[in-house]
Amino acid sequence: MHTLTHRLLGLVMASLVSNAVAAATSYPPAFDPGYRPEASSDEGGFWYQVDKLERDIQHSPFVVTDPALNDYVGNMVCKLAGDYCSDIRVYVIENPHFNAAMFPNGMMHIHSGLLLRVESESQLAAVLGHEIGHYLRSHHLKQWRGLRDGAGVSMVFDMLLTGGLMTWAVMAGNSSFGRNQEIEADAIGANLMHASGYAPVEAANLWRYVDAEQKADSSRQASSVFFATHPQPKERIAKLEAHISQLPETGNTLKNNGLIEKIMPLYRTFMANHLEMQEYEQSELLLAKHEEMGYPEAEVRFFRGELHRLRNQPGDQDLAVDAYTASLKLDNPVPDAHKHLGYLHLRKKNNTEALSHFRNYLALAPDASDKQMIEFYINSLESKND
């Protein structure tokens, strides 16, 4: 019985797949490179707002300006987008959530939380390709027009309160229209990856990780905006894999290619932001992935220590001590590990250890801004020892 059902499903899947491929080859871009709409058109009005938003973004303190990282991502976009390269501008935004965004005027946002989660250049290419897919097919415009023409009067109050576009965003998520666009963008993204020498299978792997992360954090699932506006990962992975299996084999396995090196100068900032979300199950998964990927181990261990210290549930203090201690035994340790070990030992009344870690902290970071605080504890611990 089960086998039969599976076979039947297999048949249905197979026919879906061939449709998808037929459709994939007929995904022509909705416009030519260098396109700009007429100012008098509704699309021109839409662009006008997005252009304004882009000017704000250019002055935004949340844009990551690191030139090496920006060049790296920018070059990847060019490789994937081909003739449309100069129409797309990428902004890396400091935001711990897993997200990226594409705007009709060619502005693309990549969240720092996304950079932390991709484990190879191919996975990053999957995201960029997907966004370029949305762009080339003018998905925003279609959604926006669809909403404008079909919007109910119940939206009026929302609109008044939020200024219009935000409501559009929320409403768009609930339509199957939006989900079909996601599937289409996945297919285009896989095609672009394939054409640029990346391994399309990494797109499916990325979704598998996102699925695992989502499951690790069941408490937030219901409220996640992301999954309200996107197909569930299972459906998505199945469709993607079916699509990829139809692409000619190229043996592409482009892997890291300097991804970690480009992220490293910003790793502490990005990880600290991630931990501030207090989604500790997610952070645990992420750190395990980083360890596997080959991020510097002293950094990963340090953030394991941070995770346990900040979570502060029963048993976490001991785990924090273990992680910080382990990180200090590795190359290029983080000086703050000594500081937090000092405080943790102070809490446990291990005065000798506390004193030695506080001293080591100031030895490694003589200009630390909390020097006065640490000196206060060193003095009081020394007087206790006397």
Partner: protein, 245 residues
């Protein structure tokens, strides 16, 4: 990946301003009201005229669709910006003052010139909320008593002006579909707004940093799409602006 969620969060950059203007639009929808406050009788001058730098205009014109969504109109807005600049130049000239334009190129988020504009945004919001709005601050005694501080010197140095003027306008017009809904609403006895205009202008003394003049305009009618109508709006908005000399 999403091309909507981030749009949503990014939009919230200016959501407070929008929220506030909507609040005013809702409260004062009926009729037209202009209220101004001035701390000076005349603009200061060295040689009989005064230099006023017009800061980047924050203007947006939209169509109000049948469903009540505002749809921004790029062409109207671009025209309105030109009309306002021209009209402001004429209004300033009538007050023995010259209009200078602000060059915003190549500034980063931390630069004083960007921060001064952000601070003015917050001060403008504060004046609308705490001075004109319902939440009065007892220590202010109903006086406009706000400043951008000594760092205003950076703007004076950058522009060479004596004053800076900030202008904010949101304007919406009923679409054909909206007019139909309005008519239906009238038959059914429900009030449906045809479009609103909200704007304010604020003058900052570049020697002291103080807000020396502030005016807001709320109207159920008014137009910025054509030069003639825009002239009328700008004249009303700047009516109480003092002269130099």
């Amino acid at each position: 990946m999403d091309h909507t969620t981030t749009m949503r969060s990014a939009r919230s950059f200016r959501s407070i301003t929008k929220l506030l203007l909507t609040a005013f639009a809702v409260i004062y929808l009926s009729g037209c009201a202009a209220t101004h406050v001035s701390k000076i009788d005349q603009l200061s001058t060295i040689d009989g005229s005064s230099e006023i730098v017009l800061m980047p205009l924050d203007v947006e014109l939209s169509i109000l669709t049948a469903a009540g969504l505002t749809e921004p109109q790029a062409e109207w807005t671009q025209n309105a910006v030109q009309h306002i600049k021209t009209a402001a130049r004429e209004e300033f000239a009538r007050r023995n003052s010259n209009l200078l334009l602000f060059d915003a190129g190549g500034l980063n988020a931390e630069s004083t010139l960007v921060q001064l504009q952000k601070l003015h945004e917050a001060v403008g919001y504060t004046i609308r909320l705490h001075h004109y709005g319902p939440l009065k601050l007892p220590t202010k005694n109903n006086q406009i008593d706000w400043t951008l501080g000594d760092d205003i010197a950076a703007l004076k140095e950058h522009t060479g002006a004596d004053y800076a003027m900030f202008v904010f306008v949101r304007d919406s017009y009923a679409s054909a579909g909206r007019v139909a809904v309005q008519l239906l609403g009238a038959v059914a006895g429900v009030g449906v707004a045809g479009g609103t205009q909200y704007g304010f202008a604020s003058l900052v003394d570049l020697n002291s940093g103080e807000i020396v003049w502030f005016n807001q305009l709320i109207s159920g009618s008014g137009d910025l799409r054509t030069k003639k109508a825009a002239d009328k709006t700008v004249t009303a908005l700047l009516k109480t602006l003092p002269s130099a000399g």
